[in-house]
């Protein structure tokens, strides 16, 4: 049955982690992640979670410790943000290449310089090629549910990939909402204890994180690529199984919201999907044929889906809370690449929300207006900064 509570997304995520029963939590605090790991420390202190809390001296050590725990065959959790995630970067590729199913949260925050503690996606997008699965959540409820799903995905024997669950700094992490907390017994049925043979064991000694030279390195990477292809299917399967048990679904890797007869569609990620959802409803009430594609999984990227919708809409906008300097918004590049060769859709990229700048409903209306112009045959700049001052 579960219980209801008024929680920030950080607290909701902490409840999700608590219910997944990690044996160890190793973390170093950083705004806006701090209240998430503080809540986990509370759970351990008051006996709600039987886990070891490791206070490490840095984010690099946090992920190194998480790798060590996973190498002992135990479930582990860590979390970071912004500069902390960047400092952790080296260990991310160790974890992913060694195929240890570490689950982490990233409270998305901009990266210096200019120094800024507020939310955007530049930290996670910089880890795009780290070999971590990247899921983005829209609400505190989704943060809780996705934490549990993330362990199920990461530890699937056919997947065995680390997962980063992304929640927007402040917009989600420090914003309160009513959240359903599932019962431990139900979560235990959904997520059995982690079991692996790939662990340090005196009875079965192994070399972990070994060397593979040029002769076979490519094939090791192909193994990783194949796991991401499997993850594409598993994300949807696990979400469907979760929905059956807990009554909440997030539609797998992406969600099409009011897209059936839509002419202008926006791709939105994380909390921006929540705001866009409201605007779509309001513009629909005015008779405008607009829709939204919520991108929940950035890695693996649902490229087959985007290829399949080439030419479907009169105009397609992509929102990005990050920039690949010298190119476009990060997600936009991937959407365009997915559609390459069969794109009959007019497209535009909207970069917004950098450094925590609020993306308002008016701005989303502005994006749809640009798409309307494109649909009507007017010309628009392809890459636009929405909400810029000058």
């Amino acid at each position: 049955m579960g219980t209801k509570a008024f929680l920030s997304a950080n607290e909701a995520a902490a409840h999700g982690v608590r219910l997944a029963r990690p044996k160890v939590i190793s973390a170093y605090p950083i705004t806006p992640q701090t209240t998430l790991v503080e809540k986990l420390a509370d759970f351990i202190a008051d006996g709600q979670l039987d886990s070891k809390y490791m206070m490490v001296e840095s984010e690099h050590s946090a992920m190194a410790s998480a790798l060590g725990v996973s190498m002992m065959g135990a479930r582990v959790f860590t979390a970071s943000s912004s500069q902390g995630l960047l400092y952790m970067c080296e260990m991310l590729s160790y974890v992913s290449g060694a195929r240890h199913p570490v689950v982490m949260a990233d409270a998305n925050r901009s990266t210096a310089t200019p120094w800024n503690i507020y939310g955007d996606h530049r930290d996670a997008m910089a880890m795009r090629d780290s070999g971590f699965v990247q899921l983005y959540v829209e609400s505190g409820q989704e943060a809780l549910d996705t934490m549990i799903q993330a362990y199920k995905l990461a530890e699937d024997p056919q997947v065995m990939l680390p997962v980063m669950v992304n929640l927007d700094g402040f917009t989600l992490t420090h914003t309160y909402d009513l959240v359903d907390i599932p019962d431990q017994d139900d979560v235990d049925r959904f997520l059995p204890p982690f079991q692996t043979k790939m662990k340090l064991d005196f009875d079965n000694p192994q070399v972990l994180c070994g060397t593979i030279g040029p002769a076979f390195h490519t094939e090791g990477r192909i193994q990783q690529c194949e796991a991401f292809e499997v993850a594409k299917k598993k994300i949807a399967e696990i979400d469907a199984e979760y929905a059956k048990m807990f009554g909440r679904s997030y539609h797998g890797m992406y969600e099409e919201y009011k897209c059936e007869d839509a002419e202008q569609v926006l791709v939105a990620t994380g909390s921006l999907a929540g705001t866009t959802r409201v605007v779509v409803d309001e513009l629909r009430a005015e008779g405008r044929k607009v829709g939204m594609i919520k991108l929940r999984s950035f890695r693996p990227f649902p490229k087959e889906f985007f290829a399949s919708i080439s030419g479907k809409y009169k105009a397609l906008g992509v929102t990005d809370k990050s920039i690949s300097f010298g190119f476009d918004g990060t997600i936009y590049g991937d959407v365009k690449a997915s559609m390459y060769g069969n794109c009959g859709t007019k497209m535009a990229n909207f970069i917004c929300g950098l450094g925590g700048r609020d993306v308002s409903k008016d701005m989303i209306v502005e994006m749809f207006d640009v798409l309307q112009n494109l649909s009507d045959g007017k010309s628009e700049d392809e890459v636009q900064f929405i909400g810029k001052r000058w």
């Binding site: 060694a98 195929r99 240890h100 192994q206 060397t211 076979f216």
Partner: protein
């Protein structure tokens, strides 16, 4: 006990044989260290007092104390000479390979 080098290791012949997550059975050695060793340790067992300094200091864990005498696994020894340097009785000499 330190596992012996896995001499039966065969290079993968298909995708299925690629080691998962770069994990191998213990004893896997990508290249035997002997390949780049110039000098090898040689023990004077008459002078050895079995203090195990060499065993403790060897960075490769190549020295075995399992038998009566200390022995060196030449697949793992890289010839660094730390054992010879640390030996208080100076009973380990570094001898050029092939001599």
């Amino acid at each position: 006990m330190k596992p012996k080098r896995d001499l039966d290791f065969k290079a993968p012949a298909s995708m299925e044989e690629i080691p998962f997550g770069a994990s191998f059975p213990a004893g896997h050695l990508v290249n035997p260290n002997s390949g780049y060793r110039t000098f090898a340790p040689k023990f004077d067992y008459d002078k050895c007092i079995h203090c195990l300094f060499c065993f403790v200091y060897c960075p490769e864990g190549a020295i075995s104390k399992e038998g009566e005498k200390l022995t060196v696994d030449m697949d793992y020894c890289k010839g660094c000479g730390i054992c010879a340097h640390e030996c208080p009785k100076k009973c380990i000499s570094m001898v050029k390979e092939g001599e």
